[in-house]
Amino acid sequence: MTNTATSIFNVKGDKVIWAIFVILAMFSLLAVYSATGSIAWKERGGDTEYFLIKQALLIGGGFVVAYLFHWMHYLKFSKAAPVLVVLAPLLLLFTLAYGVNINDARRWLEIPFTGMTFQTSDFAKIALVVYIARVISSKQDIIKDFNQAFLPIIVPIVIVCGCIAPADLSTAILLFTVCFLMMFIGRVDWKFLALLVMCGLVAFAFLIVIDMVFPNSNFVRVDTWTQRIQDFMFNSEGGYQIQQAKIAIADGGLIGQGPGHSIQRNYLPSPYSDFIYAIICEEYGLVGGLAVIGLYVTFFLRVVKMVTRSPKAFGSMLAIGLGMIIVIQAFLNIAVAVHLLPVTGLTLPLVSMGGTSLLFTCMSIGMILSVSRYVDKPRTANG
């Protein structure tokens, strides 16, 4: 390595992924600063720097997390996987029962003594993907076997997604989709995959039944789901939020209104999270919008390139799974902003203003970079 700038910090791994990471972080700072104008007035008495500084600190923290994880050998994650995958549903259930209730949903758990909260589903996502990657790669030879391969894969998926779904259906569907695609790539039998889709549908139906039996409990948010889906299906113009987002996109033109010149941020609810893509389009135009989508696609292509040498290895499956979580979540978020999907509440990874979930995304990237560090090297380095 001859790059002096990186050697100072001893940064290794795929340089393109690092670069994408940095560029998205820049987008994040600019867009969050611009979009938090109204929330700054609402919650901080006009202290607009507050959210910029908070986001900058989080991103800084995110880099540290990514850096630490990229230095760890990814096989350590594999060893931890069985513990993590047991811990995840326990934490999720605990959250459903005792978690912090924000916006009518129990998704957050307070970290004792810190006053900070985190979404247990963020942890569960990574834990499940690590585990699935481990099982798929280790059972490649018997992958078509129902009892020996399919069951160990599917049971944790159903449990974890089932525990996430009541409070956060979007994340559950996202995670389920990622696991499904990992199994598809990992050569799981078509019949089993079809069965899995059935399972998903049955689980979903089960939740709706629960809601019908206990119509007054807030446990399952069927009300919210049906309303969002209705809004999407029956209102071709989109609801108020969607209309404002479309105005923002339309206002952007080819090259946008310029940084900090969004008007729609004043009218668009949560312009700093769910609809940040619309604000980016307004301020940086179609060019900016294309750049953001391009960055996510490039990111995934780099992951794909990275794993071509040994796609069935644990590290490869892990990088693919974690990479898909980020990219699919990005697509889902953007699809909402452009009115291709009903409102999901999913954020744009790395870009939306985030709390601890930003740190978990950075952790994923750190793990992918860790994989890239070792697949770059000759096989002997693999310990």
Partner: protein
């Protein structure tokens, strides 16, 4: 195909799918921008949204003990957005029958449910988004509306729009109305409302509003940008019972003398807290009502009540001895070209200065002032003294619109002091003060020379919890030396004992003060004289608690003197205070000593004497009254009189049941009892007029 290649090809399929999805998503963004762009941009350009300030709930104004003097009562207007963005036709069709039924029942009874339904359907077809359902809905009714079919889904899906409004109410009507004041559009804010507007009004919120036609905006569902923050409650020092007393006394006095207007202020001597303040003006339509805050806002020539300041100044400078005799020339004296007359005819020539003050001889006070405060030097000296008494500045009371005092400043070259200025200033002319400014001088004398800053707000509160306290503030530590104050107090007592206020003496309590009768239109030659009658003073004279000033402008019948017009009002107020206020009641003060761990026994004197004799104790003091209080000291006992007043409820706390019932039934009361032992509590306050009430005694 080997495993590796199979995996890779599957991965490429997924990757290819991602790229396609990315293209579709970006294509949609481009489509919105290029294909639909003009439409969306047009929609964004038309200023169809704006942020509107939503007023916060205004804080309450409360009396000393938390009664509401002014309060904002919320009420609501209900509107129906028949075409709200989240409402689907299926839900509308499903609920319209039952909704129409409820609305017909709860709003316009003339429409049948069927007609109401037709009406709603027609309005929906017309695109109505802001249909008025009902105005002036109170909170309880609103809760019902919220549960109606369709409405229960809220604004976005149910079209249910609630507009919150509020009106300011004053539960005590005219009581201190002007002092409480108001803040209105197109009017000068006045009173406490005006002065504390910032505190009371809280912080306005912001609400996003959507324009639905040229002049109508409706709130966008749930998108309140900033929630309004309720204003703080302002807790005053006003005592609603005393306020009532003062109001009624002033009103009846004004009616009796058919005066133009008048004011009364009752102040706590020790703290400067305003306990009651009343301002009444004559109105053709309504009789006497609170129309203007004369007590704070009207600065007038005070007349003789100002003599206190003159005498304080002369005493402080050591110029006079009040026992010294002066010649008042039968109450008539010429100063340059003007003749001064005493307003009360007396025919005396040689009197002591004290007597001259007591009988309010203008000539007496003016001539000595004229003698000592000569020329520019004298004028400056007098001015400096008045300044050190705090008379040249506003009091700073927290009521909007306090008038500034006017006292000629000899240091100002533009001010003209004529030869008659000093003698006329000496008896309260050629200068002007508000009643409150003058009263604070009297209160300072009563408070042994310590001038407290008058105040009317003692704390801010939110939801019944005090957020900030305001404590009494010393304005001037000592307005004059101890001996000067002592003499001044004596002079004010003499006014009551043998001077112009003699007629109002009371056997029950003592008070001190000064009458004032000012001619208000002396500059108009030949016109019928108009007067301002006043009395300023404090009570009880030996241990002053309250200071009070009564100012009556232009009395038109049954006299015009301060002594005949203002003094009776003062006396009536003092009377009531003595009946109502525990700290003024000698018998209750003994009750208070219970808290200091003193042992005492109350009962008929006969019983107490028997007790003392049997115990073989000689009491330090004795009384022959029918009821007595036996107070235990360290090594002896005191036998004191328990005062029992006819037609008043006696204080029976501490008495045995037999004595208490005897006393109360003698006054025609019905007595109920609970518990054992001595009387611990009585349900009606001592001093209240008896009229055959039922009283409950708790023993313990």
């Amino acid at each position: 195909m080997n495993i590796k290649n199979e995996l890779l090809s599957r991965l490429y399929v997924v990757t290819a799918t991602f790229i396609i999805v990315a293209i579709v998503i970006f294509g949609q963004a481009a489509r919105i921008q290029i294909e639909e762009g003009d439409r969306w941009r047009a929609k964004g350009d038309s200023v169809h949204l704006k942020y509107v300030a939503i007023e916060a709930d205004r804080g309450n104004i409360m009396s000393e003990d938390g009664l509401l003097l002014a309060s904002s009562m919320p009420f609501f207007e209900i509107r129906f957005d028949l075409n709200s963005s989240g409402m689907n036709n299926k839900a509308f069709d499903e609920h319209i029958d039952s909704l129409a039924y409820y609305l017909a029942y709860h709003t316009d009874r003339s429409l049948s449910p069927e007609d109401y339904k037709k009406f709603l359907v027609r309005k929906k077809a017309q695109g109505e988004r802001y249909l008025l359902i009902k105005k002036n809905v109170d909170y309880n009714e609103l809760q019902k509306f919220k549960k109606f079919p369709l409405f229960k889904y809220g604004q976005n899906r149910g079209g249910f729009i609630v507009i919150r409004k509020s009106k300011r109410e004053r539960p005590f009507g005219q009581l201190a109305r002007r002092t409480i004041g108001y803040v209105r559009e197109n009017a000068q804010p006045i009173g406490i409302e005006g002065y504390f507007d910032d505190v009371l009004s809280g912080t306005a919120g912001k609400q996003l509003m959507e324009r639905i036609n040229r002049s109508t905006y409706i709130p966008v569902d749930d998108l309140t940008l900033i929630a309004p923050e309720k204003g703080l409650d302002v807790v005053t020092t006003l005592d609603i019972d005393l306020q009532d007393v003062v109001h009624e006394a002033l009103k009846s006095g004004l009616q009796r003398h058919q005066a133009d207007h008048g004011s009364v202020i009752l102040m706590d001597v020790k703290t400067g807290a305003i306990k009651a303040i009343s301002n009444l003006g004559k109105s053709k339509q309504y009789g006497y009502i609170e129309t203007y805050n004369y007590a704070v806002g009207e600065s007038t020539e005070p007349g003789s009540t100002f003599k206190l300041a003159t005498v304080l100044s002369l005493l402080e400078d050591g110029y006079i001895n009040v026992e010294e005799e002066i010649n008042i020339q039968g109450g008539k004296m010429k100063f340059y070209d003007r003749t001064m007359k005493d307003s009360h005819p007396h025919g005396m020539d040689t009197v002591t200065i004290a007597k001259a003050f007591a009988i309010s001889s203008n000539v007496g006070i003016a001539s000595i002032a004229n003698q000592y405060y000569t020329r520019e030097k004298g004028a400056k000296r007098l001015y400096a003294n008045l300044k050190s008494m705090g008379l040249t500045e506003r009091t700073g009371i927290e009521i909007q619109g306090e008038a500034a005092p006017i006292i000629k400043d000899p240091n100002d070259p533009k001010v003209y002091y004529s030869g008659t200025t000093i003698p006329w200033m000496a008896h309260g002319y050629e200068l002007s003060l508000t009643p409150l400014q003058l009263l604070s001088l009297y209160a300072a004398v009563a408070n042994d020379g310590r001038k407290m800053k008058p105040y009317i707000v003692k704390s801010y509160a939110r939801d019944g919890k005090i957020t900030q306290n305001f404590y009494p503030k010393i304005d001037i530590k000592r307005i004059a030396s101890k001996s000067t104050i002592k003499t001044a107090k004596r002079l004010l007592e003499l006014v009551v004992e043998e001077g112009t206020a003699k007629s109002a003496r009371s056997g029950r309590f003592t008070f001190a003060g000064k009458t004032g009768t000012a001619v208000t239109n002396y500059s108009k030659k030949g016109a019928k004289s108009k007067y301002q009658a006043s009395f300023a003073g404090y009570f009880p004279a030996d241990d002053p608690q309250y200071a009070c000033i009564v100012t009556i402008s232009e009395p038109s019948q049954k006299g015009y003197y301060g002594s005949s017009v203002a003094l009776p009002i003062f006396r009536k107020i003092a009377d009531k205070c003595f009946s109502m206020k525990e700290d003024l009641m000698p018998d209750l003060q003994e009750y208070a000593s219970l808290n200091q761990n003193q042992h005492f026994v109350i009962g008929s004197n006969e019983d107490l004497r028997w007790l003392i004799q049997n115990l073989n104790i000689q009491p330090l003091t004795e009384t022959n009254a029918k009821f007595g209080v036996l107070i235990g000291q360290k090594d002896s006992v005191l036998l004191k009189e328990r005062i029992i007043t006819k037609n008043r409820i006696p204080n029976v706390v501490g008495m045995g049941l037999r004595d208490a019932v005897y006393l109360l039934e003698n006054e025609g009361l019905k007595v109920t009892v609970s518990g054992f032992g001595k009387v611990k509590k009585q349900s009606i306050l001592a001093g209240t007029h008896t009229k055959g009430q039922q009283i409950h005694l708790s023993l313990g």
